[in-house]
C-alpha cells in the first residue's frame, strides 16, 4: 500500500472535515506601476489531514505566492480557501493572524528568526501568543529543542547559529503550537546537503506525527519525500501526482542502477 492511500480523498464541498485545506479557483494579481501581473491563475488544491504535499515548478511559477496566500500572509484576489472545514478567504488580517497562531506554522528559506530574541524566546513566542502560560511555553520549548538536538542553544542569539541550526530553531518555532498545517517555503534552499538531510528527517518525523505539510521546493530529493507533488507552471497547476515508488521487487541498488560496462 502506498503512503498516499492512507488519505481519504477530499469530498466535494468545503465543509469536509477530512479535508484540512481546500482552495478553489485562487487568483492573485499584483499591480506594479499600473501593470497587472497574474501570479496565480485559478488554482484548485486539496490537502487531506496529515498529508504531505510538495509544490514544485520553475521560478516565477507562483509557488511562494500560493503558499503566502494559503497562509494568509497576503490576500487572494479572488477564489475560495477553506481551512479545517471553515471558509477563511474573507478573513481580515487580524482574523488570519489569530488563525495562524493555532493552526498554521511557517518555515522560510531564510529562517527569519527574530534577531532580537534568543533561541528560547523565538520558540516560546508563538505559544505565549496563543495564550499558553510561560511555564507551559518553556516546557514545550524544551521538548522541541531537545527533539531537534539543539537544547544547548536555548540561550544563544540566532545570529550565532549555523544555517542548519537556525532552520531547526525555525522548525521548532513553527511547531510550537502543534499546528495541523505546516507551510514550508524552500526550507532546505539555504542548507548544505548534510543539513538538508537532517531537516528532511525532521520533516518526515513531523509528517509521521500526523501534521500536514505543504512545502515549496526546488529539490527533488525533498519533494520525493512527499505523498504528492503538485507542479505549478505559470500560475496554474500543470500536474498533480501521487508519487509511486518503483515496485518492491527491485531491491538492491544494483537493480535500480545499471553501471555501463
Amino acid at each position: 500500500m502506498s503512503r498516499s492511500e492512507r488519505y481519504l480523498p477530499c469530498l466535494p464541498g468545503g465543509a469536509d472535515t477530512a479535508c484540512l485545506l481546500r482552495a478553489r479557483q485562487l487568483v492573485k494579481v499584483y499591480r506594479a506601476d499600473g501593470v497587472a501581473v497574474e501570479a496565480l491563475r485559478g488554482i484548485d488544491l486539496d490537502l487531506a489531514v496529515g498529508e504531505f504535499v510538495a509544490i514544485m515548478g520553475p521560478s516565477g511559477s507562483g509557488k511562494s505566492t500560493l503558499l503566502h496566500v494559503l497562509g494568509g500572509l497576503e490576500p487572494a484576489t479572488t477564489g475560495e480557501i477553506w481551512l479545517r472545514g471553515r471558509r477563511v478567504d474573507g478573513l481580515s488580517r487580524s482574523g488570519w493572524a489569530i488563525l495562524r497562531r493555532r493552526h498554521v506554522g511557517f518555515v522560510f528559506q531564510f529562517f527569519n528568526l527574530l534577531s532580537n530574541m534568543t533561541v528560547a524566546d523565538n520558540v516560546e513566542l508563538p505559544a505565549l501568543l496563543a495564550g499558553a502560560s510561560p511555564r507551559q511555553a518553556r516546557k514545550r520549548r524544551e521538548e522541541l529543542l531537545a527533539e531537534l538536538g539543539i537544547a544547548d542553544k536555548a540561550g544563544a542569539a540566532p545570529a550565532r547559529l549555523s544555517g542548519g541550526e537556525q532552520q531547526r530553531v525555525a522548525l521548532a518555532r513553527a511547531l510550537a503550537n502543534e499546528p495541523s498545517l505546516l507551510l514550508a517555503d524552500e526550507p532546505t534552499g539555504n542548507l548544505d546537503s548534510s543539513n538538508t538531510r537532517d531537516v528532511l528527517r525532521l520533516l518526515r518525523r513531523v509528517h509521521d506525527g500526523g501534521q500536514a505539510i505543504l512545502m515549496v521546493t526546488h529539490d527533488a530529493r525533498v519533494a520525493s519525500l512527499a505523498d504528492r507533488v503538485i507542479n505549478l507552471f505559470d500560475g496554474m497547476v500543470a500536474d498533480d501526482a501521487t508519487i509511486v515508488p518503483l515496485p518492491r521487487s527491485l531491491n538492491g541498488v544494483g537493480d535500480v542502477l545499471e553501471l555501463r560496462g
Binding site: S64, H68, G71, L73, E74, R93, S94, A97, I98, L99, R100, R101, R102, F106, F108, Q109, F110, F111, N112, L113, L114, S115, N116, M117, T118, D121, E124, L125, P126, L128, L129, A130, G131, A132, S133, P134, A137, P158, A159, G163, Q166, R173, D185, N190
Partner: protein, 793 residues
C-alpha cells in the same frame, strides 16, 4: 499579551542605545520644561512661592489698637489666627525724598505666620535694638542696603535713626512702589520711639482660612467687617488686605515672559515629538523584517501597533520620571534673584503643573509613536520573506559628477542621501526643527543682551534722571550736571499723566529736549520730531488711540490744549508704550507754564549708572534726587538661564535624531559596504562615502533650520513687542559671524558623529557584510549597479 511583553523585553535588551535615546530625550525635555516653567512662573508670579515659603496669611486685618480680637479664632472659616502685631505709619527721610512707611513691631523670634524671608543680613536681634529689617522691593526702590543708616520720622515729626540689619521678602503685601507704604520691621522699643502715642498705632492680625477661594475669603472679610464695624460710628477694622490683592499687585504685566513660556511650550510640543517620532520611526524601519515575521507568526496588526505604542509610552513614562527627578535635584537648592531685587524664587511646581508636564510628555510620546506604529502595523508579513526591490538610481547629476571625475565617494554618498527619500526626509526635518528653535532662542538672547548692552536701541539712551529739589535750585543743578565729566549729554524734560480723549484711561505725555535738539529717541517708523508742533509716540499710545504715524491729535496736557502731528513711532519700554513724546517748546509755544523739570542724563560710554549716581549724590551732598532708569531687560536675566537650558536640550534632541538616522543608515549600508570593499574601494573611500552621505543631510537640515529660525524669530519677537506696547523693531539679528559659527559647530558635531559611526561600519569584517542568511539584502544590487556604472564610465 505575554507574547507582546516578551518581544518588548527582548527588543529593549537588544537595542539599549535606542531605548536610552528615547529615555534621554524625554527626560531632557521634561527637566527643561519643569525648570523653565519654574523660572518663568517665578518671574511672572512670585507671590505663589513667597506665600508658601513665608507661611503667608490669607487675610491681614488692621484693627484699631485695643480692639479685642479674641473672637476671631471662633469665626466660621477661620483656621488659624496669627499673633497680633503693633503697626505704625511713618515716613522714611532721604534728603529731599520722603517715602511712606509702615513700621511693624516684632520680637527677635520671627512670627510663625507671615514669617519674613531673610534674603540678606539677619533678622531682628535683641542685641541690636536700633536694627531694622526692610522689605526687599522697598529697599531696592529707595537704594538701601544692609549696614546703611536710615532716618524714620513719626507723624508728629520725631526723627528716629535706625540701622538696616536685614532685607526680607514677604507675601503680606505687594512690591513697592506699586504697593505703599513700604514695610519696615523693627523691635517694639523702636516703634514706640517713632510713635509714642499708643492710640495712633494699629494692630495687625493675620488669618489663615479653611477655604481661601475668592468667594470664601470675601465672606470671611465681610463677616469680620460686620462684626467689628457694627452700626456705631466706632470702626474697629481700619483696613484689610487679602492674598488675592497681594497676588494681583505682584503679578508682572511683562508679557514677554508669558510669551517665552508659550514659546518653550511650543518648542517642547514640536521638537520633542519630532525627535521621538524619529527614534520610533527609525526603529520601525530597522525592524521591518522582524515585524513582518511577527505577523507571520500570528501577531495581529492591532497587536503590533499596541506593542510599539506600549513599549515607547513606557519608555516615555520612565523618561518623564527621570526628568522630574533630575529637575527636582537641580532646583532643590537653587534660588535665583535677578539684580533688580525682584524675588524670583524657585518653589516646587504645584502637583497640577508636574502632572501636566509629565503627562503631556508621555502623551506626546504616545502621539508621536502612533504614525510609525501604524506603519509598522501595515508592514506586510511577506516583507519578512521577500527582499524589497532596490531603491534609487544614479541621477543625472550623479552621472554628471562621475563624468567630470569627482571622487566616487562624494558621488555615491550624495546619491544615497538624495535617493533614500523617507529616511533622508526624517533626518533633515529632525535636524531642521531643533536648529530653528536654537536659532530662535539665540536671537531672543541676543535681543535681551542688546537691551542691556545698548539701552539706546530701546529708547533708553539716558541711564540716569536727576530731579532738582531740596536746597538745590535749577541753576545749581544744571551747574552740577554740566560739570560732571561722566555726563555726555543732558536733556531737560517734564512728564504729565494725561487723560485720553473720552476719559477712558491715561497716557504719559513727556516733553524731553527741544524740537531743535530732541532727546535721542529710537525711531523705528517715520522720523524724529523737529518742529514744536510735532511729536512721536510709542506703539501702545498709537494702539490706544487707533491712529497711525501721520495723524494729528489735540490732547490737553497740563491743562493746556495742544495740537500735535505724530511724525514717528518710537521704541517705548515705559508704561506699556502708552507714551507721547515731544519737545518742551511744544508746551511753551502753547502757553504752558513751567512744570517741575527733570534732567535725563546720557552717560559717556563705559560709565556705570550707579557710579554716576554716586558721584552726583556726593557732589550735591545728597541734595539731588538721582534715579537710575529701569531697564526692562533686568527682569529678563532669568530668561537667559531658560535659554541656556533650552539650547542644551535642543542640541541633545538634534543629536538624538542624527544618531537615529545614522543607525538606520548603518543597517542599510552594512551590505553595501561589504560589496564596495570587495569591489576595490579602500576603507577610507568607504568611510568617506558614508560621512558624505550624513554630512550632506546634516548640512541641509542645519542650514534650512537656521534660515527658518532667522526668518521666524524677528517676527515672533516683533509680534510680542507690538502686543506689549513696546512696538515692533526690537528684535536683534544674529551677526553673520555668529550664524557661520553655529553652522560650523553643528556641522562639526554631525560630521564627527558620522565619522565615528562610519568607521565602525567600515571596520566590521567583510564577511559579516556579505554573509547574512537572515537578511536578504536589497541594497546589494544597487550598490553593484553603481560600481558597474563607475566602471563603464
Amino acid at each position: 499579551m505575554r507574547g507582546t511583553l516578551r518581544w518588548a523585553r527582548a527588543d529593549l535588551r537588544a537595542r539599549p542605545s535606542q531605548a536610552l535615546l528615547t529615555l534621554g530625550v524625554v527626560a531632557g525635555v521634561v527637566a527643561a520644561l519643569v525648570l523653565s516653567t519654574m523660572l518663568l512662573q517665578g518671574a511672572v508670579n512670585p507671590w505663589q512661592q513667597l506665600f508658601a515659603r513665608t507661611h503667608g496669611a490669607d487675610v491681614l486685618i488692621y484693627f484699631q489698637n485695643g480692639t479685642n480680637t479674641s473672637e476671631l479664632s471662633s469665626l466660621p472659616g477661620v483656621r488659624q489666627v496669627g499673633r497680633p502685631y503693633e503697626a505704625a505709619s511713618a515716613t522714611l527721610e532721604q534728603g529731599p525724598v520722603q517715602s511712606p512707611v509702615e513700621l511693624r513691631g516684632m520680637t527677635p523670634v520671627p512670627p510663625a505666620m507671615s514669617t519674613p524671608l531673610i534674603v540678606a543680613g539677619t533678622w531682628l536681634r535683641s542685641s541690636e535694638q536700633d536694627g531694622a529689617v526692610i522689605e526687599a522691593s522697598f529697599a531696592a526702590a529707595v537704594h538701601v542696603g544692609v549696614g546703611d543708616k536710615i532716618v524714620v520720622d513719626g507723624i508728629d515729626g520725631t526723627s528716629v535713626p535706625m540701622r538696616v540689619i536685614g532685607i526680607a521678602d514677604t507675601a503680606d503685601q505687594g512690591f513697592y512702589p506699586q504697593w505703599t507704604p513700604g514695610l519696615i520691621w523693627v523691635q517694639h522699643g523702636l516703634l514706640t520711639a517713632v510713635e509714642p502715642h499708643q492710640s495712633e498705632t494699629q494692630e495687625v492680625v493675620g488669618l489663615r482660612l479653611d477655604d481661601a477661594s475668592t468667594v470664601a475669603t470675601g465672606q470671611v472679610v465681610q463677616t469680620i467687617w460686620n462684626l467689628y464695624n457694627g452700626p456705631t460710628e466706632n470702626s474697629a477694622v481700619l483696613r484689610y488686605s487679602t492674598w488675592q490683592q497681594v497676588q494681583n499687585s505682584m503679578a508682572s504685566n511683562d508679557r514677554l515672559l508669558g510669551l517665552l513660556l508659550a514659546l518653550f511650550g511650543v518648542i517642547a510640543l514640536v521638537a520633542a515629538p519630532c525627535a521621538i517620532a524619529n527614534v520610533t520611526a527609525g526603529s520601525v524601519l530597522m525592524q521591518r523584517q522582524d515585524i513582518g515575521m511577527l505577523k507571520a507568526l500570528g501577531f495581529t496588526p492591532g497587536q503590533v501597533v499596541g506593542m510599539l505604542l506600549a513599549e515607547q509610552t513606557a519608555l516615555g513614562a520612565a523618561g518623564a520620571g527621570f526628568g522630574l527627578v533630575a529637575a527636582r535635584i537641580m532646583t532643590s537648592s537653587a534660588f535665583v534673584r535677578p539684580p533688580d531685587g525682584t524675588p524670583v524664587g524657585l518653589a516646587p511646581l504645584s502637583g497640577s503643573w508636574v502632572a501636566l508636564i509629565g503627562g503631556g510628555a508621555v502623551l506626546t510620546v504616545a502621539i508621536a509613536t502612533i504614525i510609525p506604529a501604524w506603519r509598522a502595523g501595515q508592514v506586510s508579513p511577506v516583507a519578512a520573506v521577500q527582499p524589497t526591490p532596490p531603491r534609487g538610481h544614479l541621477s543625472l547629476i550623479a552621472r554628471l559628477g562621475l563624468l567630470v571625475r569627482l571622487p566616487p565617494a562624494l558621488v555615491l554618498g550624495a546619491r544615497d542621501s538624495l535617493t533614500r527619500r523617507l529616511p533622508s526626509a526624517l533626518t533633515v526635518v529632525g535636524l531642521a526643527i531643533p536648529m530653528a528653535m536654537i536659532t530662535i532662542a539665540l536671537i531672543c538672547w541676543s535681543t535681551i543682551d542688546g537691551f542691556t548692552r545698548d539701552p539706546g536701541r530701546i529708547g533708553l539712551a539716558a541711564a540716569v534722571t536727576v530731579t532738582p529739589g531740596g536746597g538745590l535750585d535749577t541753576a545749581r543743578t544744571l551747574n552740577l550736571i554740566s560739570h560732571d565729566h561722566q555726563v555726555l549729554a543732558y536733556y531737560p524734560g517734564a512728564e504729565f499723566d494725561t487723560l485720553l480723549p473720552g476719559d477712558n484711561g491715561t497716557f504719559i505725555a513727556r516733553a524731553v529736549g527741544y524740537s531743535s535738539r530732541p532727546y535721542p529717541f529710537q525711531t523705528v517708523q517715520g522720523r524724529m520730531f523737529d518742529a514744536p508742533n510735532e511729536a512721536v509716540a510709542g506703539q501702545g499710545f498709537l494702539t490706544l488711540m487707533h491712529i497711525g504715524v501721520g495723524a494729528w491729535i489735540s490732547p490737553t496736557i497740563d491743562g493746556v490744549p495742544v495740537i500735535l502731528h505724530i511724525v514717528g513711532r518710537t521704541i517705548e519700554p515705559d508704561n506699556n508704550g502708552d507714551v507721547l513724546d515731544f519737545g518742551l517748546d511744544a508746551l511753551s509755544d502753547a502757553g504752558g507754564g513751567g512744570p517741575q523739570l527733570f534732567y535725563a542724563l546720557v552717560l559717556k560710554p563705559g560709565v556705570s549708572p550707579a557710579a554716576a549716581r554716586a558721584t552726583l549724590l556726593a557732589a550735591s551732598r545728597d541734595e539731588l534726587d538721582v534715579q537710575l532708569v529701569a531697564n526692562p531687560a533686568d527682569g529678563l536675566e532669568v530668561v537667559k538661564v531658560v535659554i541656556v537650558v533650552a539650547v542644551a536640550v535642543l542640541a541633545v534632541i538634534g543629536l538624538a535624531n542624527l544618531l537615529t538616522a545614522a543607525a538606520v543608515g548603518q543597517r542599510d549600508h552594512l551590505h553595501e559596504v561589504g560589496v564596495l570593499k570587495a569591489l576595490g574601494l579602500t576603507p577610507r573611500q568607504v568611510t568617506a562615502t558614508l560621512v558624505v552621505n550624513t554630512t550632506i543631510l546634516t548640512a541641509i537640515g542645519v542650514a534650512s533650520g537656521t534660515v527658518a529660525g532667522l526668518v521666524i524669530a524677528p517676527r515672533l519677537i516683533n509680534m510680542q513687542g507690538q502686543t506689549s506696547g513696546i512696538g515692533s523693531g526690537i528684535a536683534a539679528s544674529l551677526p553673520a559671524a555668529t550664524v557661520v559659527e553655529i553652522l560650523a559647530i553643528a556641522l562639526a558635531i554631525a560630521t564627527t558623529a558620522a565619522l565615528f559611526l562610519a568607521r565602525r561600519t567600515t571596520r566590521m569584517s567583510d564577511s559579516a557584510h556579505l554573509r547574512s542568511p537572515n537578511r536578504p539584502s536589497p541594497p546589494r544590487r544597487h550598490a553593484l549597479d553603481n560600481v558597474n556604472s563607475l566602471r563603464t564610465r
